[in-house]
């Protein structure tokens, strides 16, 4: 077995038909022309003539034939690839589930073995096959994909290449019969290949690649003996990914704050946490009810409601914000202070002192403006 792990390049797309396999084959040809030993370990042409034609000139390893429940099925021949030991192997459809009895359950596990033996791999996957996005994609598209891969598989890829196409172009390709055979076109157009589905999937794919690129920049190893300026420059990318923290209390007005914070998080493509600093005293019935409402809202929106018990609100907020890496704090307008509390420094100022570099936003009460407009 080679000491060097192979290099994995994954072609990621929003849906079938965007041209992942085509792009993989083009790259295979380029590598072959550059003098490398390239083979196709597994190719799914889906009866697409152009794809099959493009594969010509690249050696294709025969598939293994496996008997399953009285039927002969074909799978990628992992032992054959390892024995042939090319420099670069093209393996289509990373999320595929193997027929039971082949060895590994999933194709990405086969790919791991190929990489471990020092062979470089080009592979393809659609964004809805990523485990963490599966729920999100199925909610968007109404279609659940059963073949998934853990996100770490994509995280371990040395390169991710987004194969992008506008939804309109993809639909044109579909109607022209370049994606599926004629008898499947209508069904595809009525189900998965609806323009709103494709728009949402494209957004998910673009965001996924942006996140992977950001993550790779952050985990790049730090050289020793850097100057202070270099350290600051290296820390700068950490500010690229926003993380919002909304301060809530169990009273009805907090729902509005959560909604606005969620919309802001969506626009920024950021994660959102909700935080309630619980005073040591108990809750009234109304507060219990509001808290339940907030928990339900947080759950439906897919955010987290954090509860910290403390009587020092600024210190507790600052602590949570540092722990979570929050870059943005949203809060409602404070209720008017009474008595000696008026002498205290207001919470936003305290937070700005405690958390330099973190933006603090006070969410306006739009109903006051609506009231003004109605008058």
């Amino acid at each position: 077995m080679s000491a060097r792990r192979g290099h994995l390049r994954v072609f990621l797309g929003m849906a079938a038909g965007v041209g992942k396999t085509f792009r993989m084959l083009l790259d295979g040809h380029s590598e072959q022309e550059a003098g490398r030993d390239v083979v196709i370990g597994l190719l799914e042409t889906h009866r697409r003539v152009d794809t099959a034609k493009l594969a010509e000139g690249l050696p294709i390893l025969p598939r293994r034939r496996v008997e399953y429940r009285g039927r002969m099925l074909e799978e990628m021949d992992l032992p054959g690839i390892l024995l042939r030991a090319p420099e670069l192997c093209l393996i289509d459809e990373l999320a595929h589930t193997n027929v039971p009895g082949v060895g590994h359950r999933k194709r990405y596990e086969d790919v791991e073995d190929v990489l471990a033996s020092g062979i470089d791999v080009l592979s393809t996957v659609n964004v809805q096959h990523l485990e963490s996005l599966n729920d999100q994609v199925s909610e968007l598209s109404g279609i659940r994909v059963r073949e998934t891969i853990p996100d770490e598989v994509l995280g371990r890829a040395d390169e991710i290449v987004l194969v992008d196409l506008t939804p309109e172009e993809l639909l044109d390709r579909l109607r022209a019969g370049k994606v599926y055979p004629a008898e499947r076109i209508d069904a595809a157009l009525n189900n998965f290949f609806r323009i709103e589905n494709l728009q949402a999937l494209r957004e998910v794919a673009l965001r996924q690649v942006a996140e992977e690129v950001g993550h790779k920049r952050l985990v790049t190893s730090e050289p020793l003996g850097r100057s202070r300026d270099e350290t600051i420059a290296a820390d700068a990318p950490q500010a690229v990914g926003e993380r919002l923290l909304a301060l809530v209390e169990p009273y009805p007005g907090s729902q509005r704050l959560v909604r606005r914070a969620w919309r802001s998080a969506q626009r920024l493509g950021a994660d959102l946490d909700l935080l309630w600093i619980k005073p040591p005293s108990g809750l009234s019935d109304d507060q219990e009810r509001s808290l339940k409402g907030l928990q339900q809202l947080a759950s439906v929106l897919g955010t987290r409601l954090l509860v910290e018990e403390s009587d020092d609100v600024p210190a507790a907020v600052a602590d949570v914000a540092r722990r979570n890496g929050s870059t943005y704090i949203l809060m409602g307008r404070s209720r008017p202070a009474r008595g000696l509390a008026r002498l205290r420094v207001p919470l936003p100022q305290r937070l700005m002192e405690l958390l330099p570099g973190v933006d603090v936003r006070i969410v306006a009460d739009r109903s006051a403006r609506a009231k003004q407009d109605e008058q």
Partner: protein, 190 residues
Amino acid sequence: MSSAILIVVGVACLVVGLAGGYWLPPHGRRPGKDRPKPVKRILLPFTGSSISRRAFDAAVRLATAENATIVPAFLARVPRYLPIESAVPAQCSDGMVLLEAIEQKAEAQGLTVDARVGRGRSYRDALRRLLADEHFDRVIVSATDSPRIGLSGEDLEWLLERVPAEVLILRPAPDDKREISAAASVNGHF
């Protein structure tokens, strides 16, 4: 002697000032003193990205008359293949904007609003869960003339039979197409 009187008067003024400062907010009287705390709760469930203006107006009229809290509730459906606790952000994209619009309009009329989000396998299931969790004195729904939008006739029948609250169902008015829609009705940037 006169200096002692001055000190006593000074201390008295300070005490009165501090007490006043404690009880009164900086600008004006204590909030809510002129208006009794709402006790009744009126549920106004809706689906999709718009709500009938008639249903909203009816809820506002009743809430004003009874000094009640309006509880606009967005109902979301969780597909069967997802766990019931799943987040449904795509449906919320419209629902949250509409909740904001309803809240703004109701609060502009001086009403107390306490919004909710209900989640279930169907709209009826979402409503059932919401009603099981909290007590409501009234439920106001608007029937639609389209079988594909909102609560169906069967759902309304179920609501009348099973819900331990007063139910007000507004018949669709063919000539009245007014509605509060998500995008068009929010005041300011949301």
